[in-house]
Symmetry: C2
Subunit: 229 residues, 2 copies
């Protein structure tokens, strides 16, 4: 993941609980800690060689980004991925990123728009080399979305999308993958969105982003069905 992916709310990991959070986010998103599995505080504390205090703080933040679910006096479980969950998540993502796109068209300055276009050119070049390689596409796609969200200049929106929803989105995408033909199509959609933003057409940018996300959702739903969940 590149530097530009970091939201302003991701502070560099100064504290133990910060490091733990990053480590556990990665482990859960990539399935290293299995979806649906129960989390034992003493066990994880030993594993990461820390006390339960920073671990519990990290877990509170994991709950905040919907990666685990806690029940008082009972324990915590890693979330399970499901078709219903995906639907609910993407309903919100469509709405909020549509808004972000509209606001970005209004609030991004010329420099930021130029940077966004340069980013797309970079991805296009690297995509020609690695045809259909999903990892780079994913990083590139996330980077693209991140910049637009930041461009909205709305702190609450940035917080919700980058800090609360995006890890779960990544979890669906990493664990359920993204197949070939969708990858190149996504580039064209990105291009259209940037054009709308560059011409300050917030309404169009909104619409295009919603469709872009809806298409992405359809792609993952297909995978879910194929796996027979």
């Amino acid at each position: 993941m590149t530097e530009t992916l970091q939201s302003p709310l991701w502070r560099s990991p100064v504290t133990s609980s910060d490091r733990l959070l990053l480590e556990m986010q990665r482990a859960i998103v990539e399935g290293e800690i299995a979806a649906g599995s129960k989390i034992s505080e003493p066990e994880l504390a030993r594993k990461f060689d820390v006390s339960r205090a920073p671990l519990r703080e990290a877990m509170a933040r994991l709950e905040r980004c919907h990666l685990i679910e806690r029940i008082p006096n009972a324990g915590a479980r890693v979330v399970t991925l499901s078709a219903d969950g995906l639907k609910a998540l993407y309903q919100i993502r469509e709405e909020l990123e549509g808004l972000a796109c509209r606001l970005a068209a209004e609030n991004m300055d010329e420099h930021e728009v130029n940077q966004l276009q340069e980013l797309l050119d970079q991805h296009l070049a690297s995509q020609r080399v690695r045809e259909g390689e999903s990892y780079y596409q994913e990083a590139g796609d996330l980077d693209f979305h991140y910049r637009i969200i930041l461009g909205s200049k709305n702190p609450y929106l940035i917080n919700m999308l980058c800090d609360e929803l995006y890890f779960l989105v990544r979890m669906y995408r990493v664990q359920l993958g993204m197949n070939g033909p969708r990858v190149s199509r996504a580039f064209d959609e990105h291009k259209a969105i940037i054009n709308a933003i560059a011409s300050r057409d917030g309404e169009l940018a909104d619409l295009l982003m919603r469709r872009h996300i809806a298409a992405s959702r359809g792609n993952i739903e297909l995978k879910l069905q194929q796996l027979g969940k």
Copy 2:
């Protein structure tokens, strides 16, 4: 505040940190702990007669609902209310509650719709008695919005609106008030929204809710200007 206001995620305060959270949420929303003031952990721990452990957990949750802001190794401050903050908050609220309204029109069952209509009749009756009394109106308004959000049946949406955004919304409303003429107008808007939901017209319900919230926002913005902030 009535019983029905509670979201499913508000568990009864079984633990110390739960009690602390409720207490501090109320204190901040009502301005008992002044906006912008710094929070001292040892001081509050003494005041509420608990250890710092549950206090810190409560503070983590206060940060989650945007009532305080923390900086690592530096401390926490209560948020300050501003015109920019209100604008950013209501931009999101408009979008998400519009979505909630559309989903409610699709997903609420007959019984829930009937209950919603009964609720409005109750409020109308009590409003005739207490003309322009803002406290009851506020509770009633919140209750109305809560039920629609729950009716969306989208867990993420419910969590975001009821647990993360609504305390800040209440803080603006409680500390900046809501004046007379707006109160009765809100009833008519509520009525129109319910009708749209009852006739399963999600699109209309969405539109009406957005306007309702925009009007409410305009009302608070006016107050902010009058106070010369």
